[in-house]
């Protein structure tokens, strides 16, 4: 296929590159501070991808410390703009994560920013969410899709569960591309009804992607329908609360009291459906004490996790979820008593003369899990 006209993708930001494709015989021009070190390598990976896609064009790359997957992403996005189609790719395989794994922290990472995506593996969050929605401006949506897709394919995200937050209104376009990267899950923003989940389920089926779902409830209507939403699909592993949009939606002011009701609604809806309840982000990244206070409170309420918009928030969140030494000791004793009872063939375990029932056992197991996670 030949390209007609000129198309661009990428930015001039640090760790990014600007790619231009235009009509031509396949000349590749590279501008880079480290040109001597990498010119041939970059040319090789670009040529290879062009051949795979069977595209003929001249390519100009201005590179600002972009690593391979970033260059390829920008190249693909520019070509896709030129051809007006989604480019095909090979789907990678990724192991599944368990439905009830630890999701104490989930870090939202802007999906069009290579600098942030590159280093996300080291932050130690339980879930990394590559964001195509609020942190990406409309003009960059397509660039971001290709970047996120290739990041999913090429980058090591450490031990974190890897999610993508899609755009509700562009769900098909988003999912179609990112499905090649097989994320562990998809966050659906502004979910207001069971129908919103069904639409996504259908798209997943079409693109043959089997992954977890996490609706974000962030409107009054969403809160009103939360209990049905929580049971809408067996792909749901958690519901997340979005307090910033919720506050705007109801025309209120964000403070602890004003969010008590929606938080409880989310909590009860999730827990009654047997999935996790995840609290909203704390928007002021400078205010560590505020984050600590809010997180302590939602942990006490029963929430399973909290959103983060800065890596510095992760450690504080994990701290708040860590059980105390005494809680850990107590939980160990309970689990030992259960083991002991099993060994002796007794149906019911007791500790200090008191019966250990199922909720006590469950709480003890969660405590140990949290302790091991931290």
């Amino acid at each position: 296929m030949k390209i007609v006209g000129e198309y661009f993708a990428g930015t001039t930001n640090e760790r990014d590159c600007l790619v231009k494709v235009k009509e031509g015989e396949g000349n590749i021009l590279i501008k880079s501070k480290t040109k001597g070190l990498f010119e041939e390598h970059i040319e090789e990976i670009v040529r290879k991808r062009m051949e795979e896609l069977d595209v003929q064009a001249d390519v100009e790359i201005e590179e600002f410390g972009a690593i391979d997957y970033v260059i390829i992403s920008r190249l693909e996005s520019a070509i896709a703009k030129a051809l007006g189609v989604d480019l095909p790719d090979k789907k990678i395989r990724r192991g599944k994560t368990s439905k009830d794994r630890l999701r104490r922290s989930r870090l939202y990472v802007p999906g069009n920013n290579p600098r942030f995506i590159n280093s996300v593996a080291v932050y130690g969050c339980d879930c990394t969410i590559l964001d195509l929605e609020d942190s990406v401006i409309m003009e960059h949506k397509q660039d971001a899709r290709y970047l996120v897709k290739n990041a999913l394919k090429e980058m090591d995200f450490g031990k974190a569960e890897i999610w993508v937050r899609i755009n509700k209104e562009m769900a098909r376009d988003d999912i179609n591309l990112i499905s090649y990267g097989s994320p562990h899950g998809i966050c659906i923003p502004k979910v207001e009804s069971v129908e919103d989940i069904k639409v996504i389920e259908k798209i997943l089926e079409e693109v043959n992607l089997d992954c977890h779902l996490m609706p974000i409830i962030e409107t009054a209507k969403g809160i009103a329908n939360a209990r049905e939403i929580a049971k809408a699909s067996d792909k749901l592993v958690a519901i997340a609360f979005g307090a910033e949009d919720y506050t705007r939606d109801v025309g209120g002011k964000r403070n602890w009291e004003n969010l008590i009701y929606p938080r409880f609604e989310i909590l009860i809806s999730a827990k009654s459906a047997g999935i996790q309840a995840l609290d909203t982000v704390y928007p002021n990244i400078e205010d560590e004490d505020g984050l600590r206070e809010e997180t302590r409170r939602i942990v006490e309420m029963g929430f399973d996790g909290k959103g983060a918009i800065h890596p510095g928030q992760i450690e504080i969140i994990h701290e708040c979820f860590s059980p105390t030494e005494e809680e850990i000791k107590e939980a160990r004793k309970i689990l030992e008593a259960i083991e002991e009872a099993k060994k002796k063939g007794r149906g019911v375990a007791t500790l200090n003369g008191r019966m250990i029932d199922l909720p006590v056992e469950r709480k003890a197991r969660r405590t140990i899990k949290l302790a091991e996670g931290s």
Partner: protein, 510 residues
């Protein structure tokens, strides 16, 4: 001949016989210290001269001689340019420059290289001058030495200085001086000691002449031949060059946290803990996190050697450490503390790191954490050249700290832009693998297999990876960079601190 880090070293270069590096502690020196001439200043004689020109004349500077400078004013220094301009105007040529280091502010020296005033340099080059040397070379190869190595060279006579110019922010007309007080105060002047004690002529240049005798006395009158007053020796805000701010990058903060975690896990941070602090975003963060960790756990350290910043001053002031040994002050809070805090004292770079003295401070350090432009799979470290082959940095105290400290930790990101930091082979060996123990990156920690004790100490408590794994990880993200192309011509010699040769740097091919 191949040296002990596998580098080919010529037997002779420009008439100088080169000794190949043969291990960090294998060379024992013989002989005596390099003596300056005997002198006498009789009652009534004056040392105060009216201009730099007059001082140069009196000192008898001639074509082919060597002049030295210290770099305590870093990128704020006016003295080097001022003196070299004067030398040029006087028509003196073929000068060997022996600065402790040169900075971007000294870029205009390139003109004096081109016009033949400067034909040789023995000293650290940072930035534009290094790049110039890489591309063009001087008449003689530049000699790069560590701080301790330079002190050794001056004291042994390997580097003979005809005239030492010592910038001081306070001096009296008889030559007693310091860098602690005055409008251009820059703090400790550790670099100036060796030059003052061993140069044939010593000229103090100050912009703050005070009545005799000034105190504190860093360099005493007994070493000083002449004193010249000038309008300004420099801009002290320029001493905060480079990266004197703590890093804000979460990935780099993570590296710093992992350094502290490693030291804590290995059981190295306990009462008496002493370390070398440094500049640079990650090092500053390590200092800050060490402070927090020690305070939280009630651990009191004996001393910090540096490279002193406000972060170290904080540790002294709240009792987390007992003493600061200050060879150079990296920010104005350190300068202020040196005059006020009792436990904060100035030390020379002889004391800091001269391996051929009766023991230097680095020998007493439990840990140091240092940067690098490259590290190889053998744990050799490059701090001088970039992966494109250009000479852009001095060695600093790197070799000395690494050799002396019980544990030497290199803190690096896996990638700088798209350039991998862990390489099969470093472009230049600046610090030998025999003195480097741990590499902490944002993608994992690797321990030199020679340090079985450290591996054992953290086994099962911290994830440790093979350095090759880190190398492969980077390669999978960016491929393998092409090695730079060099000419045959050797433009610089990288000396080890004991005077043997670690590596040579060749001219970059355009």
């Amino acid at each position: 001949m191949l040296n002990a880090v596998g580098r080919e070293i010529p037997e002779e270069l420009n008439g100088r016989k080169l000794k190949p590096y043969n291990g960090p502690f294998s060379f024992r020196p013989k002989g005596r210290l390099h003596p300056p001439p005997l002198k006498a200043v009789f009652p009534g004689e004056t040392k105060l001269l009216s201009s730099i020109k007059e001082a140069i004349k009196k000192a008898g500077l001639e074509n082919g001689m060597t002049v030295s400078f210290h770099h305590h004013l870093r990128n704020g220094d006016y003295v080097v340019n001022m003196v070299v301009d004067t030398i040029a105007k006087m028509g003196i040529k073929d000068i060997k420059l022996a600065p402790t280091a040169l900075f971007p502010v000294h870029e205009k020296l390139i003109e004096h290289i081109k016009n033949g005033v400067i034909t040789a340099i023995e000293g650290s080059l940072n930035g534009p001058l290094g790049e110039y040397v890489s591309r063009h070379g001087l008449k003689e190869p530049v000699v790069l030495r560590s701080h301790g190595g330079r002190a050794r060279a001056v004291r042994s006579g390997d580097l003979h200085i005809d005239v030492a110019f010592i910038a001081a922010s306070m001096a009296d007309e008889y030559g007693n001086c310091n860098g602690m007080l005055g409008k251009s105060a820059f703090g400790a002047m550790g670099f100036a000691y060796a030059d003052a004690m061993h140069a044939d002529n010593v000229i103090v240049i100050t912009d703050n002449l005070q009545p005799y005798p000034v105190t504190p006395i860093s360099i005493p009158q007994i070493y000083v031949d002449y004193v010249v007053e000038v309008e300004s020796i420099g801009d002290p805000s320029g001493i905060q060059t480079g990266t004197m701010r703590i890093t804000r990058s979460p990935a780099r903060l993570n590296i710093a946290k992992n350094v502290v975690k490693f030291l804590a896990t290995a059981g190295i941070i306990k009462d008496g803990f002493s370390f070398q602090a440094g500049a640079g975003g990650i090092s500053l963060a390590v200092t800050k996190f060490l402070h927090e960790y020690m305070k939280k756990n009630g651990i009191v350290g004996d001393f910090v050697m540096g490279g002193i910043t406000g972060f170290v001053v904080d540790m002294l002031r709240d009792g987390t450490i007992k003493k600061i040994l200050d060879g150079q002050s990296f920010d104005l809070r350190a300068v202020e503390s040196l005059t006020k805090d009792e436990g904060h004292v100035e030390v020379s770079h002889i004391m800091f790191g001269d391996p051929h003295s009766c023991g230097c401070v680095v020998n007493r350090q439990h840990a140091c954490f240092l940067g690098a432009t490259e590290v190889d799979l053998e744990f050799n470290v490059n701090v001088n050249t970039h992966s494109d082959g250009l000479l852009l940095h001095g060695i600093g105290g790197h070799q000395d700290a690494a050799a002396g400290s019980d544990v030497t930790i290199i803190t690096i990101p896996l990638l700088r832009g798209r350039v991998p930091v862990i390489r099969k082979e470093v472009t230049t060996v600046s610090t030998p693998c025999h003195t480097v123990d741990v590499v902490v990156t944002d993608r994992g920690i690797a321990i030199n297999p020679e340090r079985e004790d450290l591996i054992e100490a953290v086994k099962g408590k911290m994830e440790i990876v093979d350095i090759e794994e880190l190398y492969k990880k980077a390669k999978s993200l960016v491929g393998e960079p092409k090695p730079p192309k060099f000419d045959k011509e050797i433009v610089a010699i990288v000396e080890y601190r004991d005077g043997t040769v670690l590596d040579v740097i060749r001219k970059v091919k355009e």
